[in-house]
């Protein structure tokens, strides 16, 4: 968008830049410096040695391979649903939206166990196939391996595609679709020649995020892939924690960051020259009435696919939390409120919820505070500095958590920045991860707000600040709300227990889940499932709350 000939001044993002420098740049520089100063460092030879090792080639290759495949599969699964969601009017849309939001918050261990309960060789689906469909042995063997990894990645990242693409598409001007129809376009033509090209910026952005997410995958590959698979992120963790080989870890971290940079350059190339689609200022949506039987069948098909694939694992979780060998009972939930062993580190579910919401709320606040100015800046700037700024703020997403966590330890060790062990580092690190999502949601939204609106407001004497505050933010409020809930969920699900100093007094729900699962006993597993259900419940409430916030905004008169 060219709002006037000048670019936005860099001062807009002064605070975000400072925060990024302090909480990302400084610790990264510190850990890299320490790593390369460690003894036993053979300089370039060592770099060469690592980069030519089989471990490295394999980890990079597999990271790349599974990330590309996961991204394609996620798009393949999510896009038809999103398009259906955008184009058609049908009952149960709210549920689809909610369903797409939930997986994101669940810890990997929980998802893995839910997956296995369903698709595993002894899972429900296989039992069903053996008992009722006449199979002699389990038809699926999805316990471990690439298919399990891919499925889990699709399960998680459908949220990303849905949030970005549906959020963007909901703001598209409905008359574009109507006019294509009035020119004789069939639904197929509308999807392929109008809707998809219009959605392209959000689809590319979603692909980028999904790719980076999978490229840096840790838990999913570790747990569902099994020991035969390894990504760069896993190798970085191993080199850091098991071998304490920081130089090697640093080199791998740099490769991962460098690679992200390269992917990002490709992304920017793809995004170039794409005219912003006009935004619908009314918010009627694109929903068309469903007429033909084929359409109705199609909708049912995709709804079922979503419920099967996204809903069933969640359902098996809920069942796991209330099903005991003596039948259904709330014993696991009741047990959450007891501390029979009088452990100092016992967390009541209430406090875990308060901590989780507190951290997630703070992280959301931070990521929105840096996300909105940066998105505003990026959407009104062109020229050489733009991609640099853009890429800079994307880096935390692809930086190994353990590298950054260790960087915190080294960097913040003396006043005034003696923040080690401070609770602020946790929401801060969550915000760094959530922030790129916020920017990717907001930039196309801000760009989409018709420049005419800005110009008209300027003619009426509005200052730049007023234009943003009074015109662009309110019109893009759906996207802002979407970004808010998105970053809230990212923080809610992150636990980062492996890499960050945690004060056990402020344990969150995911940390509690981990604690339960680290000791044997049926009660522990049941309580972990019950805690997971609480996590889902919070997400549902958060989702409904944001929906409500959007709904209470003053309605616009119909034209």
């Amino acid at each position: 968008m060219n709002r006037g000939p000048q670019n936005a001044p860099l001062i807009w993002i002064a605070i975000p830049l400072v925060l990024l420098a302090v909480f990302y740049g400084y610790p990264m520089a510190a850990i890299l410096k320490t790593s390369f100063q460690m003894d036993g460092n053979g300089g370039l030879d060592q770099v060469f040695h690592i980069l030519s090792s089989r471990m490295f080639g394999y980890a990079l290759g597999f990271s790349l391979f599974q990330a590309v495949l996961s991204t394609l599969l996620t798009l393949g699964f999510a896009l038809p649903g999103v398009i259906m969601f955008l184009l058609c009017d049908f009952s149960g849309k709210k549920w689809m939206q909610l369903l797409a939001s939930l997986p994101f918050v669940l810890p990997t261990v929980v998802v893995a166990s839910a997956f296995r309960a369903l698709w595993g060789s002894h899972g429900m689906v296989n039992s069903f196939a053996v008992h009722y469909l006449g199979f002699h042995s389990a038809p699926f063997n999805l316990d471990y391996g690439l298919p399990a990894v891919l499925m889990a990645h699709v399960f998680y990242n459908t949220s990303v595609v849905f949030k970005l693409v549906a959020g963007f598409g909901a703001n598209l001007d409905r008359s574009l679709i109507d006019s294509a129809r009035s020119l004789g376009a069939s639904t197929r033509i509308i999807v392929f020649r109008i809707l998809l090209p219009l959605l392209k910026p959000s689809v590319t952005a979603a692909s980028l995020l999904v790719f980076l997410f999978c490229f840096c995958s840790f838990g999913v590959v570790l747990i569902l892939g099994g020991p035969g698979f390894s990504t760069l992120e896993i190798e970085i963790y191993r080199q850091t924690v098991h071998f304490f080989n920081l130089p090697a870890a640093a080199i791998l971290s740099l490769v991962q960051i460098l690679f992200t940079g390269m992917v990002f350059v490709v992304y920017l190339k793809l995004q170039k020259h794409h005219p912003a689609a006009p935004f619908n200022t009314g918010g009627a949506g694109l929903s068309l009435p469903v007429r033909s039987r084929m359409n109705r069948l199609g909708i049912r098909f995709f709804q079922s696919a979503w419920i099967l694939f996204l809903g069933l694992p969640l359902l098996s979780l809920v069942i796991g939390s209330i099903y005991t060998d003596t039948g259904f009972s709330p014993v696991f939930f009741m047990e959450l409120f007891r501390n029979p062993d009088q452990s100092v580190f016992y967390i009541s579910p209430f406090r875990a919820i308060v901590h989780s919401i507190g951290f997630a709320g703070t992280a959301t606040l931070i990521s929105m505070m840096i996300g909105i100015p940066v998105a505003a800046y990026l959407s009104s700037t062109s020229g050489r500095i733009r991609p640099v700024i853009d890429i800079l703020f994307m880096l935390p997403l692809s930086t190994s958590a353990v590298t950054l966590g260790f960087g915190f330890i080294i960097a913040f060790d003396r006043p005034p920045l003696d923040l080690r062990g401070s609770w602020i580092l946790i929401p801060m690190s969550h915000a760094l991860v959530a922030f790129p999502f916020v920017v990717r949601v907001l930039v196309p939204a801000f760009q989409g707000v018709s420049e005419r609106l800005g110009e008209a407001a300027a003619l009426l004497g509005a200052t730049t600040g007023q234009i943003w505050w009074k015109i662009i933010f309110p019109i893009a409020r759906k996207s802002i709300a979407g970004a808010t809930i998105f970053s809230f969920m990212i923080s809610l699900g992150e636990f980062g227990a492996t890499a960050f100093i945690a004060r056990p007094q402020t344990s969150t729900i995911p940390v509690a889940i981990f604690r339960f699962l680290s000791q044997p006993g049926s009660l522990n597993q049941g309580q972990a499932m019950a805690m997971s259900c609480l996590l889902l419940l919070i997400t549902v409430f958060g989702f409904l709350w944001v929906e409500w916030l959007i709904a209470v905004e003053p309605k616009r008169a119909c034209v």
Binding site: S182, G184, L198, H274, P275
Partner: protein, 354 residues
């Protein structure tokens, strides 16, 4: 101006409601071949919904849509061969000007050469022959409007629907474009329905005007009929008429009001009934000495303001009961100065009684 032919579009008892609130309430309308019908109404009156029902974008809850004698009620928009121009033009931002215009032709699976030829024809029809390769965001508002028109006309629809096509343009541009649009539509003899809330625009282009309010059609007629004889006080107000006087009907069509008696030829009300009298602003002339019957069709008061508008003066007169009436007087003779007493004679053809 008036052409006539068989009814091309016919709406029968169309009804539609959203969440229990009626948006269209039993609407019946006809448009003759080659005619331009303008649906005029305030915001939220349901006129856009009615247009979308005609197009097939929305389905009515009840009623029928007949196009050229065929029942098209259930036929979706893509199979109606109806052209449509939207308020924000809805041009595809990812296609060029030519790409936009060609879109409908491609849907008809015309051969490539034919498409190129038709696009060129359309571009010259809207006087934009050199703009085929432009991107949409490089165009001005007026140019976009013309591209939108060309795009909707390219597949040679049988009926063109225009939904506030000037809605987002400034007034000066609007007046010129209404004229251009009028010329183009009549040149190709297009049957059209034009929705707007601006009566000047509507009067300028329509053969027939349908006034719509709260989901109902209030009045249908030629622009002249609607202008001269608004069907109700509400319609009159919507058309911008504000000179209302309260009165009582007496025998012989005479109405007695606070400022005097008016001869109105009124026959719809009973003698003794309370009525409202509308005096159109173009109905007055300055009273000369000894002119007109005494105490009939006269308005006297103090001149509150006068504005010279070239062809006429727009004046505001405060009558004895304190109300103000607005009149457009011929520029000769000049009215008295502000504050002075003024006496006006009213033509009785310009008086309507409700």
């Amino acid at each position: 101006m008036n052409r006539s032919g068989p009814d091309f579009l016919e709406l029968k008892c169309i009804a539609k409601s959203y969440g229990g609130l009626p948006a269209l309430d039993d609407i019946s309308l006809t448009v003759e071949t080659g005619q331009i019908l303008c649906i005029l109404g305030p915001s939220g009156c349901g006129k856009s919904t009615l247009l979308r029902v005609m197009a097939g974008i929305e389905l009515p809850d009840a009623g029928q849509v007949l196009i050229d004698g065929l029942d098209m009620t259930g036929v979706p928009v893509e199979h109606r061969s109806v052209g449509m121009v939207f308020q924000d033009f809805a041009l595809f931002p990812h296609k060029t000007v030519a790409g936009n215009i060609a879109f409908g032709l491609e849907m008809m699976k015309l051969p490539r050469g034919e498409i190129v030829r038709r696009v060129a024809d359309m571009l010259s029809l809207v006087d934009m022959a050199d703009y085929g390769n432009r991107q949409i965001h490089q165009l001005s508002g007026g140019q976009r409007q013309r591209v939108a028109l060309a795009r909707s006309l390219a597949p040679q629809p049988r009926l063109l629907l225009l939904d506030e096509p000037m809605g987002s343009l400034d007034r000066a541009l609007r007046e010129r474009l209404v004229q251009d649009l009028d010329i183009i539509l009549r040149h190709i003899d297009m049957t059209a329905v034009y929705v707007t809330h601006d009566h000047a625009e509507g009067f300028g282009i329509a053969d027939q005007i349908a006034i719509m309010n709260q989901g109902q059609i209030g009045q249908v007629g030629t622009p002249e009929q609607v202008y001269r004889h608004p069907g109700s006080a509400i319609i009159a107000r919507f058309l911008g008429f504000d000179n209302f006087l309260d009165g009582t009907l007496e025998s012989g069509g005479m109405v007695k009001t606070g400022v005097g008696v008016f001869n109105t030829c009124e026959s719809n009300h009973r003698v003794g009934e309370t009525v409202k009298v509308l005096i159109r602003p173009d109905a007055a002339v300055l009273e000369m000495e000894g002119q007109g019957a005494p105490d009939q069709n006269r308005v006297s008061g103090k001149l509150v303001s006068r504005m010279f508008q070239g062809r006429n003066y727009r004046i505001r007169v405060r009558i004895p009961n304190g109300d103000e009436l607005v009149f457009d007087l011929p520029n000769q003779p000049a009215p008295p100065g502000i504050g002075g007493d003024i006496h006006l004679l009213i033509r009785n053809s310009a008086i309507t009684v409700f």
